[in-house]
Symmetry: C2
C-alpha cells in the first residue's frame, strides 16, 4: 500500500478520483470477474488517466487489494465495544453477515486471483492479509491493555474466520449459535 498517497482530503479531487476508480473496479469485477480487465480499462471506466492509477496504486494488484480492504472496513470494521467478548462477537457476526451476502466470498476470490498473477499478485495478497491481520491484532491489543486475556489474531483467523469461510464456500449455513460457539471456543 506504500504506493498510495498518504493524504486525501475528503471531498477533494483525490477523494473523487479514488471513489470513481474504486467503483470502476467493483463494476468490472462483477461484470467480468478477476483477471479479465486491465488498468487501462479501469481508467477508461473511471474517466481518469492510466497514469493517475499507476501513480497512486502502482499496479492493478495493489488497487484490487485497496478496493477489497475498503469493502472489508466498511462491511466488517473492527468493533470497539469496550470488552473482548463484545468485540469478538460483534466482529464474528459482521463477518458472518458479510460472507453470506451477495458475493460474500469476494475476499477468497481475490486471494485466488492474486495468487495467479505472479510476484506482484503474491505481494498484494500478502499485504492484504498483513493489513487485515494487523487491524484484528489492534482490536485484540486493546483487550490486552484492559487486562483481558486475548487470543492472537492467528487464533481468530484459524478458529473463527477460517471455519466460517470454508462452511460458506461448501454451502453450509452459519447460524448465530454456530458463530457464537466459535467465539466461545477461543475465549
Amino acid at each position: 500500500m506504500n504506493e498510495r498517497q498518504p493524504a486525501r482530503r475528503p471531498g477533494g479531487r483525490s477523494a473523487r478520483v479514488g471513489a470513481q476508480v474504486h467503483q470502476a473496479v467493483t463494476d468490472l469485477i462483477s461484470e467480468r470477474g478477476y483477471g479479465n480487465f486491465t488498468v487501462g480499462e479501469v481508467a477508461a471506466r473511471a474517466g481518469v488517466a492510466d497514469s493517475s492509477i499507476y501513480r497512486r496504486w502502482g499496479s492493478l494488484e495493489t488497487l484490487l487489494t485497496d478496493v477489497a480492504l475498503t469493502r472489508l472496513n466498511a462491511q466488517s470494521p473492527m468493533p470497539d465495544t469496550g470488552s473482548l467478548d463484545g468485540d469478538l462477537r460483534t466482529y464474528a457476526a459482521a463477518v458472518a453477515r458479510e460472507i453470506t451476502g451477495p458475493d460474500g466470498l469476494a475476499l477468497l476470490r481475490l486471494a485466488f486471483a492474486l495468487a495467479g498473477t505472479g510476484d506482484q499478485g503474491l505481494k498484494a495478497r500478502d499485504a492484504l492479509r498483513a493489513e487485515r491481520t494487523q487491524q484484528l491484532q489492534s482490536m485484540l491489543d486493546r483487550a490486552g491493555e484492559r487486562g483481558e486475556d486475548a487470543p492472537s489474531a492467528f487464533d481468530v483467523l484459524d478458529h473463527v474466520l477460517a471455519p466460517m469461510y470454508i462452511r460458506v464456500l461448501f454451502g453450509m449455513e452459519l447460524t448465530p449459535d454456530y458463530v457464537d460457539g466459535l467465539v466461545d471456543r477461543i475465549l
Copy 2:
C-alpha cells in the same frame, strides 16, 4: 453420485473409459480452468461418446466432483492406524502435503466453480462435501467403537482442515508443528 454405475470391473472396458474420462477432465482443468469446457470436449478428448459420459455421470458437475473425490482419496485417504491420535495426525499431515503441492487448492477452486453453475452445481458441491464428511466420520466412528473420545467430522473440518486451507490460500506456511498443534487442540 447415483448416476454412476455401481459395478466396474478393474481392467474392464468400464474402468478404461473411466480412467480416460478422468484424465481428460484433469487435463482440461489444468489447461483451461473450471467452467471453460463442456461434456462434449471431455468426450472428444477422452475418445468416448458424449452419451457414455451422460449415462455414467449424468452431468459435467457430477463428473467434476467424481474426479475431485478420486484425487482426494488417492492423495489424502482416510488412514486407519489403530488410534484416533494416529489417524488424525496422519490425515492432517497428508492434507497439508496435498494442499501445499501444485494446485493444492483444487478442491476450493472446484467449490467456487460449482457454486457458479446453478442448481446442478450446488447439488454436486453438496454431494462432494457430504461424501468427504462421511468418509471422515467413518474414521472417527472407528475411534468411537474403540472407546476413544472422538471429535465430530465438523470439528475436524472447522478446526483442522479450514485453518490449513485458509492459511495456504493466503500464502502462510504450514509447518509440521503448526499442523500437529491443530490436531492437539481438538483431541
